[in-house]
Amino acid sequence: MIFQSLDYLVFFVCVFTLYWQLPRRGQHVLLLAAGYFFYGYVHPWYCILLGVTTLVDFTFTRLMEDRPARKRLWLICILISNFSILAAFKYFGFFTDNVIAVLHLLGWEAAPPVFKMLLPAGVSFYTFQSCAYALDVYRGQTWARRSLLDYAVYVSFFPQLVAGPIERAGHLLAQFERPRLLNLGVARDAVFLILWGLVKKRVIADTAAVYCNKAFSVSDGTFPIIWAGALCFCVQVYADFSAYTDIARGSARLLGFDLCQNFNHPWLAQSPADFWRRWHMSLSSWFRDYVYFPLGGSRGSERLVARNLMLTFLLSGLWHGAGWNYVIWGGWWGALLVLWRGLDRWLPGFTQGTGGVRVMLRWSITMVLVNIGWLMFREQSFPDLLRQIRASPFTAPVEDWRIGGFFVAMMALYSTPLWLHAALQKPLLDHWDLRRDTRTGFMLQTVAGFALSLAFFTLASRVTSDFIYFQF
């Protein structure tokens, strides 16, 4: 079920209405049923995977506490079970394609497997969430839950089930064990978040998708068209993914839950590391806590740190998709972080200076690097990617520069609300303290809500598509 559909609206209104009439156990049963209904709406068999993940992880985490002598064994069972699901459904095709290609290079011809498996939506998100819980129990950072119902609701909580944020037990699961409350301020914030998410998806992301698809549809793209296309994708992917997060957070708030923040204006980032502190924060912190730190993190020699960074980002790239372009994208980010660390040591005045020119320069460089990264992410064909990176600005005809300029101008106009949001959010929060239910906050939120509705009715794209991160 997709958030921007009528089906979801009807589904959510029904769940919401019934939810607040029930006692807490009833609420959990309802959320569990709703989660499985939401997930299996198009392909009911998806629910089997979700159920298996839940049961296996719940059982073995309990064993970790009940039979602590074999704690490590139980953890390995959980990790094997979760990563087997990922391997089978997400990476099997990628693995066989590569094996066949290598065999072909060696002169052996192998037939591709006759069956293809459909990738269940959001499988990477809930397996990671479940793994995080198991690892936290293993480390003693949280306790193994005794209630299967609580745990099952935590894994299948529908607002964040298919595209995150990837929650931690300490944050979300703990909320299932507490009473919850809905008041006017919270509900208004929630509806506002949903509205903002819908505008980001239907107005900004869906429009950017049209121009991005156009730019990447030509076989003879030149420098201005390719890079304007990458910029369109930059707008599309941010608007699309953050829209999902906003609608998820808004929906969860209406049910009395607070989901973690996933984005903090990544376009304001001034370094690669800063970008990852602002982009898909729940995933970056997952990789930081469960991959980077266990590898040694920033301790040890520079060489060791570089290895840790590269490994972490290569895995992060592979998490995004079973394709070499995602691995390259991960490698790109790993390399940038390593290089920026070097720059930090040799030119601290540049990387840490607070002067306006330095800040602008750092920001510009970061944005260029981010866009190069998005080109790698978007372009699935390796030969085409090489051709695009090699494209020279000096050979492009003037018509293509005009088309590129037009695409950039379109993105500048359509992304204005995102820039305004980035520029105004902090001052508004600081000066008027909109988090408190004040009269000014109420008025401003009403005016903004009115403007968002107006934008939705007059500017929404006629064609919409699934959220990009569903495929991961």
């Binding site: 959990h28 919850r180 018509e399 520069w401 037009f406 101008a409 500017l459």
Partner: protein, 365 residues
């Protein structure tokens, strides 16, 4: 790690404080202001804008000059009129001269990229039938079931184009649109929102304004008309990658459907098209094109229901005195003949025209 003492699940949860109903009403009022407020601004629709004449009445224009096309049609007095989208012009050519020369018959093409049955019906009724010409055959070039597919509202053709084609009330078209929407609750909501907020008109006009603004900002000094032409030429078929479907919505929609094609035909505009063709003394010919085939089998993948549908349509057309030709299983059209998606390479057009005439010369008198 020991669990902290958690409240029992059977304990009553903290419902919203005493004023929950008052809060509920306030929230509802707030939503009404945010969602209802725009109605005051939008319900009358946008101010009318003079339509911009673009690159010609027959191809790719946002609007169509019906009178001009009728005049051209009258002057041509063709034997056969072809109506369709890119499935037709990437097979027979942009202009009919080459085909007319090959066959010795007078052909006339009216096509619109991305168009569907609603547009074709209006082209037939309000241009061909209204012109008073008497062609022997009117043919539609179609892919899959796009001639009889229910209305989805996801047309690639602008509302302005459809508007200029309409001639007052179009009851058959309205019935077709209603039938398509009534099956889908989302369609009915779209329709309701459109009535309330004039969303279609606003979106059309705002999108045009923003595009114009972007052209002023980023497109250099070239006139907008020239920029539009440049855009459509730069992303034309000859520049597209081989694996790109140019008519994505149609391709996706027909791939998703696996049954119910024949049922859709009953409520389609096809019977009205037959009547319109018969009214000008012409036979209606449906030419179903072959989708991009698989490299090994040289056949396209299609559900069994689609084959049943093609058989159904063949029988039904014969019953109604019409003609149906399906090239889907013709192995002489190979993958190498395709440019991108389901379009034929420009260098294979001459071959394709020959192929077409070889099969149609007995059908087109």
């Amino acid at each position: 790690m020991p669990p902290p003492s958690a409240p029992s699940l059977d304990a009553p949860h903290r419902r919203p404080a005493g004023g929950q109903w008052r809060d509920g009403w306030r929230l509802l009022m707030w939503c009404l202001v945010c969602l209802g407020g725009p109605w005051l601004v939008l319900h009358k629709g946008p101010p009318p804008q003079a339509p911009e004449r673009t690159e010609g009445p027959r191809v790719g224009a946002d609007t169509i000059d019906v009178k001009e096309v009728i005049a051209q049609l009258r002057a041509a007095q063709p034997d056969c009129i072809g109506i369709g989208n890119s499935m037709m012009f990437t097979r027979l050519g942009m202009t009919p001269e080459a085909l007319s020369k090959l066959t010795g018959k007078k052909f006339f093409f009216i096509y619109k990229p991305g168009s569907d049955a609603a547009v074709w019906y209006l082209l037939l009724k309000n241009i061909v039938a209204a012109s008073g010409v008497h062609p022997k055959v009117v043919m539609f070039f179609v892919r899959d079931n796009e001639l009889t597919a229910p209305y989805t509202g996801r047309m690639a053709v602008s509302a302005a184009y459809l508007k200029t084609l309409r001639s007052g009330n179009e009851p058959e078209l309205e019935r077709f649109i209603q039938a398509g929407r009534s099956g889908k609750a989302a369609g009915r909501v779209d329709q309701w929102l459109d009535k309330l907020y004039a969303t279609e008109d606003w979106r059309e006009q705002m999108s045009r304004r923003i595009t114009d603004m972007a052209m002023d900002l980023g497109g250099g000094s070239a006139a907008k008309k020239a920029q539009r032409f440049m855009l459509s030429a730069r992303f034309g078929l000859e520049h597209l990658r081989g694996d790109v479907h140019s008519d994505m919505p149609q391709a996706e929609a027909s791939n998703l459907l696996t049954s119910g094609y024949a049922e859709g035909a009953q409520s389609s505009l096809l019977p009205d098209m037959l009547h319109a063709a018969q009214a000008c003394g012409a036979k209606l010919l449906i030419f179903r094109v072959k989708r991009r085939p698989d490299a090994v089998t040289n056949l396209p993948e299609e559900p069994a229901a689609m084959r049943d549908y093609a058989r159904f349509l063949d029988g039904w057309m014969k019953q109604q005195g019409g003609l149906f030709f399906d090239e889907t299983y013709d192995l002489s059209i190979r993958l190498s003949d395709y440019l991108d998606g389901d379009h034929i390479r420009p260098e294979r057009l001459d071959w394709y025209r020959g192929y077409f005439w070889e099969r149609m010369h007995g059908v087109i008198p």
